[in-house]
């Protein structure tokens, strides 16, 4: 991220990160070791916070289930348009030689009458460009154009592709994603409503072969897509995912294109479109499969980038938290993001520590077991509901047992540290996840 000043040396950054971790650990130990030092107010505050946490959890789940159900019912009545508009698909790629063939092949198999593919190599140092060139030309009416430019990041590469497109509908995707044949046909139907500026696709994990990727598959279904479904009922989806975003060209250009000053260009673009007064829909049948990180450190790297990117974008658009463009759901949607990104992870970690502390100090093991059982049953039911709605593999539901107590806790710790580092203002780089070529 360009900050205008010279970034800190990696060793200095590392030292600051260690200091943040040490401070967080010491503060937590002190807080729970000597609660009497904080007086009865502290104990009271703990109990109120915990009760609020459980209440919010139940409320959040109920609201999500209800509105996602309403959205599902609404979609069942929607019809396909009689005329399909011309669509440009932009595929930005940087060092994606393992997956680019699979991605471009999936695009040539789309059941859509009228579209073009614009593949842009962002100065890759591997064979990405050569692999792309194999697809250049005309494939039964689908024109594939391949471009190469100097490395300048994903946002700039997407803008480069958009500038070379002419279609009224533009699809921006990741080069490690594979679209299903019907994806475009379903997504485009929502543009019949002239107030819809963009449609979010349904992203699913392709490589489900270890516990990390299976947990992510469940998270995408339960944690991300169900939230989008609920938000789509109000036409205020707050993240158009990078693997598949479908935009009305005028809406995309009206924002001035993607910005390079955050690490979550997809979220940043979503906020800008909402700020311009457009509605954003979600199409569950516009499915894009993506390659999820397969090892823990890569997962942490991805979530660290997401968390800081979202905070950067929120900071940029903070005026929207209190002011809407005639649409009251936009600030609500953004506040939800603040809640999920900042408040929720801290509360979750805090609640876990609190119950462990109670069990240790007061021997209230029954409370600990009851709390765990309540959350696990709740997660299991939500997982089954979300899986059935998406007609997904029901076997994934069993992973919900590990989801809150194990997976979410790890992700929340990462989010918390990412938030602290963003507040401190540590420099960060985009980095690059190693691809296994499993899409």
């Amino acid at each position: 991220m360009s900050t205008g000043k010279r970034p800190l040396r990696p060793a200095t950054q590392l030292l600051i990160s260690i200091a943040i971790i040490a401070l967080a650990v010491i503060a937590t130990i002190y807080l729970f070791r000597y609660p009497q030092k904080f007086g009865p107010f502290f104990i009271g505050a703990l109990v109120v916070t915990l009760a609020t946490f459980l209440l919010l959890l139940l409320l959040r789940h109920f609201v999500l289930i209800w509105f996602s159900y309403l959205h599902q019912r609404e979609l069942a009545q929607d019809e396909h348009p009689e005329i399909y508009p011309f669509v440009s698909i932009i595929v930005p790629a940087y060092n994606e030689e393992e997956v680019i063939r699979s991605s471009l092949s999936s695009l040539l198999e789309l059941r859509y009458p009228y579209y073009e593919i614009i593949a842009v190599d962002d100065g890759s140092t591997d064979a990405t460009y050569e692999r792309m060139k194999e697809f250049e030309g005309n494939h039964y009416g689908v024109k594939v154009s391949v471009f190469r430019k100097e490395n300048s990041g994903k946002a700039d590469t997407l803008n480069y592709g958009v500038r070379r497109s002419t279609a009224p509908i533009v699809v921006c995707m990741d080069s490690d994603s594979r679209l299903t044949p019907e994806a475009l046909r379903y997504a485009v139907r929502h543009f019949g409503d002239k107030t819809v500026g963009a449609v979010a696709g349904n992203v699913k994990v392709a490589n489900r072969h270890n516990i990390w990727t299976k947990l992510q598959a469940l998270e995408y279904i339960e944690g991300l897509n169900m939230v989008r479904k609920a938000q789509a009922f109000w036409r205020s989806v707050n993240v158009i995912p990078g693997p598949m975003g479908i935009f009305r060209r005028t809406a995309l250009l009206g924002t001035g294109g993607y910005d390079s000053d955050t690490f979550a260009e997809d979220f940043d673009m979503t906020v800008k479109i909402l700020a311009d007064g457009w509605k954003i829909h979600y199409e569950p049948k516009a499915v894009a499969f993506t390659e999820a990180p397969e090892v823990l450190l890569d997962l942490i790297k991805q979530r660290y980038r997401w968390s800081r990117g979202i905070l950067q974008a929120l900071r940029k658009q903070k005026h929207l938290l209190t002011r809407s463009s005639g649409n009251v759901t936009t600030p609500l949607s953004l506040w939800y993001m603040v809640f999920e990104g900042l408040v929720w992870p801290a509360m979750n970690i805090f609640a876990s520590l609190f119950f462990v502390w109670i069990a240790l100090i007061y021997g209230m093991t029954k409370l600990l077991v009851m709390w765990w059982l309540l959350l696990t049953i709740l997660d299991l039911l939500i997982a089954i509901h979300a899986i059935l709605m998406e007609k997904e593999d029901i076997g994934l539901a069993i992973y919900s047992v590990f989801y809150r107590m194990f997976y979410v806790l790890i992700i929340d710790v990462t989010k918390l540290f990412a938030t602290l580092e963003e507040l401190v203002g540590l420099d960060m780089s985009w980095g690059k996840l190693a691809r296994k070529g499993r899409i």
């Binding site: 100065g123 450190l297 942490i300 765990w372 780089s429």
Partner: protein, 61 residues
Amino acid sequence: MRFDWVNILATVIFISIVVTLILAVASYFAYKVREARRPKTAAELRQEGETKVFFSEYKPQ
């Protein structure tokens, strides 16, 4: 012998939460170490005002 299932389950939950939290902090630390040691890309070098001056990448034909 009669098992106290509540205590056993509570112990399992307690250990799993503590181990997960330690694992999460340790993994985050490991990630930071790995990032600090990662070679920088051309774009990152440009952003920091540094350039590769000694050699360009050799690719065998």
